[in-house]
Symmetry: C2
Subunit: 152 residues, 2 copies
């Protein structure tokens, strides 16, 4: 019996939000590096990118520019990132992690990962391998989606 896209979508609609809530709650619980999910994702992207601009981050995370601007505001205020003007194009920003930001990112990542891992440890190795495979299949579908079908 084939698995229809609709069946799969329904399943995602039911399970993904509950996983997300656990992630959100856990991230908040670890006071050491008290980061929200968007803050965490922003730091993570800045960490692996090469001096991204605000637009770069906003597009990757999937937020509007004003939303991202505000999140960046908060991270700058907490001295977790730096926000400088691009040397040759003065409209653009150059975002980078501070030492403190790297620490916060690593602390939060480790704590949250450990918490999830604790749950996942109850599964069989085969189950975990299967989950990783499924997520790898899904990853490109939901990574930085462009605005599709611009009406001509």
């Amino acid at each position: 019996m084939p698995t229809s896209p609709d069946t799969c979508a329904q399943e995602m609609l039911e399970v993904v939000p509950s996983i997300m809530r656990t992630i959100r709650t856990e991230m908040r619980r670890h006071r050491a590096a008290d980061l929200s999910v968007p803050q965490f994702r922003t730091l993570a992207f800045i960490d692996r990118g090469d001096q991204p601009s605000l637009s770069d981050v906003a597009e990757h995370i999937g937020l509007t520019l004003p939303s991202m601007s505000k999140i960046v505001d908060g991270l700058v205020a907490r001295k977790l990132i730096t926000r400088q003007t691009h040397p040759t194009d003065r409209r653009r920003l150059v975002l980078a992690l501070t030492r403190s930001g790297q620490t916060a990112l690593e602390t939060s990542r480790k704590a949250t990962r450990a918490c999830l891992a604790e749950d996942l440890a109850t599964l069989s190795d085969a189950d975990r391998a299967n989950i990783v495979r499924a997520l790898e299949t899904l990853r490109p579908l939901f990574a930085a989606k462009k605005e599709a079908t611009p009406k001509p």
Copy 2:
């Protein structure tokens, strides 16, 4: 090579939030039944439960009572649910969908599901089956988690 809980957790931490963002954005986009994710989940639980109380919903969704109370406020104001007093225990609420709430839930569910399904249609049947299997494995791990390890 075994797949460690940590590897699996890391993968989830990267992919799940991006899926979630797509779900959130899509749900908002369909103006017909303009529901946020928590609103949608609340309606869905009330729909399948048997006259749940506020605490029932809050526990299932994973929110505090005040947070849930506010969401319910909004849904009542929009006439999507009814909020009545329990006939024998007057402290409790009895929540139920209105006709309009059922419609909104179905509209939102169909639209969001269709949008996800469109993405998932590009995958092979085997991939989709694998994703469903993975999500079914994860579902019980993240469903209405109790407060674990109450320190004695």
